[in-house]
Amino acid sequence: MSATIALACLLLVGEQSTKADPADLAQRIDERLQVRFDSEQVLPAERAADDEFLRRLSLDLIGRIPTPKEVQSFLADSSIAKRELLIDQLLGSKKHACHFARVWRALLMPESEVEPQLRYFEPGLEAWLQERRQDNVGFDGIVRELLTVPIVGPNEQPQVVLRDLRRPNPLAFIAAKNADPAKIASASTRLFLGLRLECAQCHNHPFDNWSQEQFWNQAAFFAGIERRGRGPFAPLVEVTTRRTIALMDSDQIVSPAFLDQSQPRPTDNGPARAELARWITAPENPYFARAITNRVWSQLFGTGIVEPVDDIRDSNAPSHPELLRELSESFAAADFDVALIYRALCRTAAYQRTSRQSDPSQSRAELFAKMPVRPLSGEQFFDSLALAVAYESTADRSPGEPERDPVRQAVLGLFAGASGGGNPQTSVAQALALMNGDVTDGAIRPKSGARLQQIINEFPESSERQIEVLYLSTLSRLPTQEETQTLIDFNGLGDKTSRQQNMGDIFWMLLNSAEFCWNH
C-alpha cells in the first residue's frame, strides 16, 4: 500500500468535519468526466427529462418503476430542487433499505439462484441487511459484522444456522458457502476488496501478483470454521485456536497473513477472522473503499470505473483513476456512509443524462457520456410488472416458508443472472413468457386484468385517456402526440368488444416493449 494514500486516509479519519458535501462531490465527479470528454472529443448526451429521470431513479433506489400517481405529481412539481429532494426522499425510505438488502443479498449469496434450498436463507439475510441500512450503519460495520458473526457453542451444542426464517441472519453467508474457508475467503476478497484471488487457488496466476500461498493465507483466517454434518442447514462450530490450513492437493500448511504481507496479531481467544475483518475495513485500507464505491458506481452507471468490478489489478486499469481515488477517499472519510455515495452519484449531470444517443462519440460506455440501457433484475422486473398490471398475489404465505408466489418465482427464474451491469440480454424465453405467458394474458383481458378493468371503467368513452393511463402505468410517461394518434386509430377499429380487445393488445405491446423491460 502506498504511504501517501495511507497518510491521506489517516488525516481524513482524524477530522469528521471533512465529510464531503454530496453536491460538491457530484460537481467534482462531473468535472473529472468532463476532462475526458474534452480530451477525447466526446459530446455528452443531453439532460434526461423529468419522467426519464424519475423512472431510472426509482428503479435504482427503490427497485421498481414509479406509480402513475408518482409520475404525475413529479411532473407537476415546479420546484427547482425537486430532483435533489426526490433523491433524499427515496434514500430515506424503507423501500430503499429493502431494495439495497436484495441487491446485496444477491451479491453475498449468489448460490441461492442455483440451489433452491438456500432460498430459505434469503429472508433472514435480507432482513439483516435491511436493518443495517435503515439504521445507517457504515458499510465497514456491515462487513465487520458479517465476517465476525458469532459461531458459539460447544461441540455437543453447535451453532444453529437457521432458526427463524425472517430473523435477521448474517450467518447465511457462511452457511451458503458450505462453511468452506476457501469459498468464504474468495467471496470476501472479491466483494470487499475487488480482488479475484481464487484464480490463485490452484496455481500461481500468471497475470496477477497474487500467489497461491496468498490465497490460502486468506482462507486460513476462516480455518477454524467447521460444519457438523451435511448440507447448508448443518450447524457450525468454530475452533478458534486452529489458525492454519493446507494448500489444495499439497502438504504445505499456511497461516493467516494479510494481502499487504503484514501479519495479524492474534488477540485472546478471538477467531482469526475478526482480525481479517478489522484489516479489510480499516479506513487506511485502500482496497475496501475502492471496491465498494466502484460497485455502487457500476450499479448506477451500468459499468464500473474498473470493469469487471471485482477484478481490480494493475493490468486492468480504471477508466478514471483520479475519480475513483477521490470517491473512495470521500467514502472512507465519511465513515463508509453508503448513502453519501448514492446521493452524490445520483446528483451528477452524468447520472441525469438521457439514454438517447445523439452522437456516436457517446457509444463508449467507459466514458459515461450517456446513460446506458441496463437490465432489470428479476425482482425489479417482477415488482414493476406487478405494479403495471395491478397484480395481487393470491399465494399463501405461511411464515415458515420463503416467498412462494408462483408468478414471482417464474419471473425470477426468467431473469436469473441479470443484475445492474452489462447489456440487457433479451432471451427467447423471456420474449415467449411476455408474449404468451399467463401474467400478460391475464392482464390484457378486461375480465381478468385489474389495470385494464380500472381504466375502462374510469374512462369508458375516451380511448385517449385509456392509452394515457396505460403509458403511465408501464413506461412511466405520457404518450407522445404521434403515439396517441397511431394508437387511437388502431383502437378505433371494429365494434365495442373488439375495441376492448384492441386496448388489451396495446397493453400487450407496452408490456413487451424494451422500454418497459429495461432500465434506461
Binding site: 490452484c202 444517443q357 433479451t426
Partner: protein, 444 residues
C-alpha cells in the same frame, strides 16, 4: 403457408381489418421482419441439410468421478467398492453401474488422460465449455455457441443451440454466447424455477399462444410492437437493441407449428419414452434426439449432482442409473434412425475427482488426471486414449488439454478449429487455441 391460409379462413373481419390497417400505415417493413413466421421450416428442412453433422453434449455438472466410471483402479486403495464389467469392445472395462453403455464401447473412444489446470467449479466449467482460460476482459463463447455459428441456418425455425436442464450452468451476468452475441445464445429447455429435476415436464415454456388468441391477432400485435418501439430502440443502438429484436423474431418463428412440434415428447410412443428412463436427464436425451433429427446442430443435456465431496459411492451409483439408461437409449435410437454416424456424442464434466477417498467417503476436485468419452459421428470406437498411473493420480501417457479436446470435437464435426471470430476486444480469436493438437487418430 398452410398455417396462414387456415388462419385467414378462421378469423373474423376485425382482425383482418386491424392487420390491413397496420400494413397500410407501416408499409411492409414489419411483415418482412417477421419473415417466415409460420411455414418456413419445411423448406429449411430439405434433405440436403441432413448431411450436416450434429453434436450432443452430455454435460456432467459438478465433475464426475473417473475412478468410479471409466478409469477404474481395481485392487488399489483408491479404487472404492465398485467392480468393473467387460464391455462390447475387447479389453475395455467400465464400472458395473454402466451396463447399458458397456454395450456401446465399440462406438466410443475413452480418453483417460485429460489433464487440465482449473480446480474451481466456475473457472473449470468456463475453461472446458469455452476452451479458453477465463480472462476478465474477453467474453469467450461456449462451445455450443461456436458450433451454432458455424452451422448457421441448419435448423430452420428451430434454434441452432438447445441446452436442456442447464439451470445453474451459465454464469450469472455472463452471456453464454460471449462476444458472438445473443444470436448464438442457447435456447434453454426444462428450467423449472424451483430447480426440481424429477417429474417435471421438459418443455419450452410459453411456446404456445394462449387459447383465446388467434394467430392473426398474435401477428398483428407483434407488428404493432415492432412499429411502436422502433424509435426507442433506434435511439439506443447496440447489442441490447439488436438482441431484443432478434429474440422476438426468433420466438415468433419458434412458435410455428412445425418447430414447436419438436418439443412435444408426448408424440413419442410410450416404449420409446420408457427406454430412456423417467429421469429428467433421460427425457432430455430423448428430446436431444428429436432435435438432432430435425437438424439442430448442437444440443446439450445436463446431469448435475457429481460434486460428490461426501458419500461419493452412493451418489455415483444413483447418478449412473439415470446416466446409463438415457445415454445407452440415445446411442441405440440414433443408430436405429441412421443418425449415429452424423451425430457426435460427448460425455464430460468440468474436471474429475481425486482418486484418494476422503474421510467423508467422498472425492474432491481433481483436474490433473481424468476422463472424457467421445462417441458416435466419425469417432473410431473401441479405443482408449492415454493412461493414468496405477493410483490414478498422474497421467502417464498422452496428456490431453482442454484445447486438444475441443479441437478434436471441432474436427469431428467437420469444423476448422483455427477459424477466427472477431471478439469484444477487437482482435480475432480462433475457435480453439491454435496450440491445440487434436486427437486425429480417433477420427476416421
Amino acid at each position: 403457408m398452410v398455417g396462414i391460409n387456415k388462419a385467414m379462413r378462421n378469423f373474423g373481419l376485425n382482425q383482418l381489418t386491424r392487420r390491413r390497417w397496420l400494413q397500410a400505415t407501416s408499409g411492409s417493413v414489419a411483415g418482412a421482419w417477421l419473415g417466415g413466421w409460420f411455414g418456413s421450416l419445411a423448406s429449411a428442412m430439405a434433405d440436403s441439410e441432413r448431411s450436416k453433422r450434429s453434436c450432443i453434449l452430455l454435460w456432467m455438472n459438478g465433475g464426475p468421478s473417473q475412478t468410479d466410471t471409466f478409469d477404474m483402479k481395481l485392487g488399489h486403495e483408491h479404487g472404492g467398492p465398485f467392480r468393473s464389467i467387460a464391455t462390447r469392445a475387447a479389453g475395455i472395462q467400465v464400472c458395473e453401474h454402466l451396463p447399458g453403455i458397456a454395450q456401446w464401447t465399440d462406438r466410443l473412444a475413452i480418453i483417460r488422460s485429460m489433464s487440465t489446470k482449473e480446480g474451481d467449479h466456475g473457472r473449470a466449467r468456463d475453461n472446458l465449455r469455452t476452451g479458453y482460460v477465463p480472462q476478465a476482459s474477453i467474453q469467450f463463447p461456449v462451445l455450443g455457441s461456436l458450433i451454432s455459428k458455424e452451422s448457421l441456418g441448419q435448423a430452420g425455425d428451430l434454434p441452432n443451440y438447445v441446452s436442456i436442464n442447464s439451470r445453474g450452468l451459465f454464469n450469472p451476468g455472463m452471456p453464454p454466447a460471449g462476444f458472438l452475441g445473443p444470436d448464438y445464445a442457447p435456447l434453454l429447455v426444462g428450467q423449472d424455477t424451483d430447480g426440481n429435476e424429477n417429474g417435471q415436464r421438459l418443455a419450452v415454456e410459453n411456446l404456445a399462444l394462449p387459447k383465446s388468441v388467434s394467430t392473426e391477432q398474435a401477428r398483428a400485435r407483434l407488428e404493432l410492437l415492432h412499429r411502436m418501439e422502433r424509435k426507442f430502440l433506434d435511439a439506443r443502438p447496440g447489442p441490447a437493441a439488436d438482441g431484443h429484436r432478434t429474440a422476438y423474431a426468433k420466438a415468433a418463428r419458434m412458435m410455428s407449428h412445425e418447430a414447436a412440434k419438436a418439443f412435444q415428447l408426448d408424440d413419442e410412443p410410450k416404449e420409446s419414452r420408457d427406454a430412456y428412463g423417467s429421469s429428467q436427464f433421460g427425457q432430455g436425451c430423448l428430446l436431444s434426439r428429436r432435435l438432432v433429427e430435425r437438424g439442430v446442430p448442437f444440443v446439450e443435456v445436463s446431469l448435475g449432482g457429481w460434486d460428490t465431496h461426501d458419500d461419493n459411492f452412493r451418489q455415483v451409483q444413483n447418478l449412473c442409473g439415470a446416466l446409463d439408461m438415457g445415454w445407452s437409449a440415445l446411442m441405440q435410437d440414433l443408430q436405429q434412425r441412421g443418425l449415429l454416424d452424423s451425430t457426435l456424442v460427448v460425455w464430460m464434466g468440468e474436471f474429475g475427482r481425486t482418486p484418494a477417498i476422503n474421510p467423508r467417503l467422498g472425492r474432491d476436485h481433481f483436474p490433473k488426471a481424468w476422463s472424457v468419452v467421445l462417441g458416435g459421428g466419425p469417432i473410431s470406437g473401441g479405443q482408449i486414449v492415454g493412461r493414468t498411473s496405477a493410483d490414478g493420480t498422474n497421467v502417464e501417457e498422452r496428456p490431453v488439454s482442454t484445447p486438444d479436446l475441443l479441437a478434436t470435437i471441432c474436427v469431428a464435426l467437420g469444423i476448422d478449429p483455427e477459424k477466427q471470430n472477431m471478439s469484444n476486444v477487437d482482435r480475432p480469436i480462433r475457435l480453439v487455441d491454435p496450440l491445440a493438437s487434436p486427437l486425429l487418430d480417433i477420427i476416421s
